[in-house]
């Protein structure tokens, strides 16, 4: 199998331009973020921050500075409200598992939307083993949660609501403030968690103003290093850790803090939030150029999710009819353009995107979808390059399809 991969990689030799648009699944870490992390491996603060020696105290000081910065970017009240975790998946597990367990005796119901990230859906499913049930709120054709249905769903038995602030696949900016108000009116003891990984650094986000109890953010989703994320837990919300081990600077996550990655995540956040408006405007311009360019060149497309201000500025999700997504991702890869697809074939789950199905797309539209996310570090040249190769890639795949499936 590894031999095959070597051959696959050889097929990519001679590519002149590479454009990485699969920022949903990982990202390129900018050099200045790498540079910021470097000293922390072996020059300073390389020790366990809970220990009593110089490199330990250096690590403690460094991490405290990072807690402070991340808490400010999130609009938290204080740095005690932030817990660094090894990523979005871990933060969502902590929020949902610990949130449910903290509500012991108050009820057994979890309310989420149909289009939550897979790790939220799967943790909610896991909670079934502990006697919790999950109700999923439907969304409309743009991916907006049905607030009426949310109101009906949150009852006396409900312990936790989890809804992403921005949908990771179709970019829908959810009315989280309204959802929190509705949920808390229905049942004041409900804990409200939001996975804000796709909102952080893209839309104005303030956990205090939103009124959420917990919020997840992810490092690689803002071009920080993989293996890092954070959970905001509002002061006064008493959840307990779900993993056991020696505790250092954070009581909700045991083990030795990973100082270089925390520094990298913080640096990536700093770069996203310094000149926030300009960064967002740039992403929006590049994204719109990409989408408009594709629609100008090809027919039989569907734009998935809302448009304009209702959509995250980085996200483009397009269903390409009469083309299958996995074939497209490979064809584009051979030209140096890296995207992901909602096709069953390109997903580990062998099911087409649950988000696209939930917004009313038929299976064929989901199989032919491609997801692209631009970043503040992309250039107009990058988008021009994508537009120069994507139409011919689509046309070649459509050529193989021919009249198959067309009736």
């Amino acid at each position: 199998m590894v031999e095959n991969v070597k051959e696959l990689l050889k097929l990519h030799e001679g590519i002149t331009h590479e454009v990485y648009l699969d920022n949903e699944n990982s990202s390129i870490v900018p050099q200045e973020v790498v540079d910021a992390m470097l000293p922390y491996w072996n020059k300073k603060a390389y020790a366990n921050p809970a220990l009593t020696h110089k490199p330990g105290w250096e690590a403690f000081e460094t991490i405290m500075g990072c807690f402070g910065k991340i808490s400010r970017y999130l609009g938290a009240k204080n740095l005690e409200e932030i817990t660094f975790t090894p990523g979005e998946t871990e933060a969502n597990n902590l929020a949902i598992q610990a949130g449910c367990f903290a509500q012991k005796g108050k009820g057994k119901k979890i309310v989420i939307s149909e289009i939550e990230p897979i790790n939220v859906l799967q943790v909610a499913e896991l909670m079934g083993k502990f006697g919790f049930t999950t109700q999923k709120i439907p969304v409309n054709s743009e991916g907006f949660i049905n607030l009426e249905k949310l109101k009906e769903a949150v009852d006396k038995d409900t312990v936790l609501v989890s809804m992403a602030a921005v949908n990771n696949e179709v970019g829908t900016i959810q009315p989280i403030k309204e959802a929190v108000d509705i949920a808390k009116t229905q049942n004041p003891s409900v804990l409200f968690h939001t996975d804000a990984s796709d909102a952080y650094g893209r839309i104005p986000l303030n956990v205090k103003q939103l009124g959420v109890d917990m919020a997840t953010v992810s490092s690689f989703k803002i071009q920080g290093p993989r293996g890092m994320g954070a959970l905001y837990v509002k002061e006064g919300v008493n959840i307990e850790r779900i993993l056991e081990g020696p505790i250092g600077t954070q009581k909700l996550w045991p083990g030795v803090e990973n100082t270089p990655l925390i520094v990298g995540f913080t640096k990536a956040s700093e770069l996203a939030f310094t000149n926030f408006d300009a960064n967002v405007a740039k992403m929006r311009t590049l994204r719109d150029k990409l989408v408009d360019g594709i629609f100008a060149e090809l027919t039989d497309l569907r734009f998935n999710g809302p448009k304009g201000d209702k959509r995250s500025p980085d996200n483009a999700n397009i269903s390409i009819l009469r083309a299958e997504g996995e074939a497209l991702t490979i064809e584009l890869s051979l030209k140096g353009v890296y995207v992901s697809s909602g096709s069953a074939c390109s997903r580990r789950l062998l099911q087409p995107s649950h988000v696209l199905i939930a917004i009313g797309r038929i299976f064929e539209e989901a199989h032919g979808s491609i997801l692209m996310k631009v970043t503040r570090t992309h250039t107009e040249d990058d988008i021009n390059y994508v537009l120069s190769v994507l139409p011919s890639a689509v046309n070649r795949i459509r050529g193989i399809v021919g009249s198959t499936g067309v009736h």
């Binding site: 199998m1 696959l8 299958e324 490979i330 399809v401 499936g405």
Partner: protein, 171 residues
């Protein structure tokens, strides 16, 4: 969304990039379809058959699907070329196709199954359409590959039925 870096081998990649015998055959003796776009793979198989010798003189395909689907369809068209219908029926199985293509990731075995399902369906159709007596080597019962193709199509029907009211509501 998550993806597996499917480690396709060079033969699969070569046929994905340069499929053989691709395209609609205008003078096909028989045309068979297997799969459904709702399931993410569908193949159209075209055979040109010599009526007196029952030899497959040409095979062509079109396919909607992943790289493995395209490559297995392509290799089946090469494998059947010049075979009698009887030899094609007896010798082309999904295991042979998988072997011929140098192996597939296990989650992609169904691509070879569907390609062979389309071929077997085409052979069966030939005798039906020509209204000639069904030869002894052609069993009345469906083969594994044909059953799998049918199963996938049934699944597609269920999927579209279940989704239709929702999809219409959201248009």
């Amino acid at each position: 969304m998550s993806r597996i870096p499917l480690p396709y081998n060079p033969k699969v990649m070569d046929l994905f990039r340069n499929p053989k015998n691709l395209g609609k055959m205008e003078d096909a003796t028989v045309v068979a379809v297997a799969g459904n776009p709702a399931c993410g793979d569908m193949i159209t198989f075209y055979l040109k058959i010599n009526d007196s010798t029952q030899v497959i003189e040409r095979a062509q395909f079109e396919s909607y699907g992943c790289a493995a689907n395209i490559a297995t369809s392509s290799i089946v068209t090469e494998m059947v070329n010049g075979l009698t219908l009887e030899d094609a029926w007896k010798n082309i199985t999904w295991q042979k196709v998988t072997e011929e293509i140098g192996g597939l990731p296990s989650v992609k075995f169904h691509c070879g199954v569907l390609a062979v399902g389309a071929l077997k369906r085409a052979i069966r159709l030939y005798f039906e359409q020509k209204k000639i007596p069904v030869p002894a080597w052609l069993p009345a019962d469906h083969t594994f590959e044909e059953k799998q193709a049918l199963e996938e199509e049934e699944l597609a029907k269920t999927l579209s039925k279940r989704m239709k009211p929702e999809a219409e509501k959201k248009q």
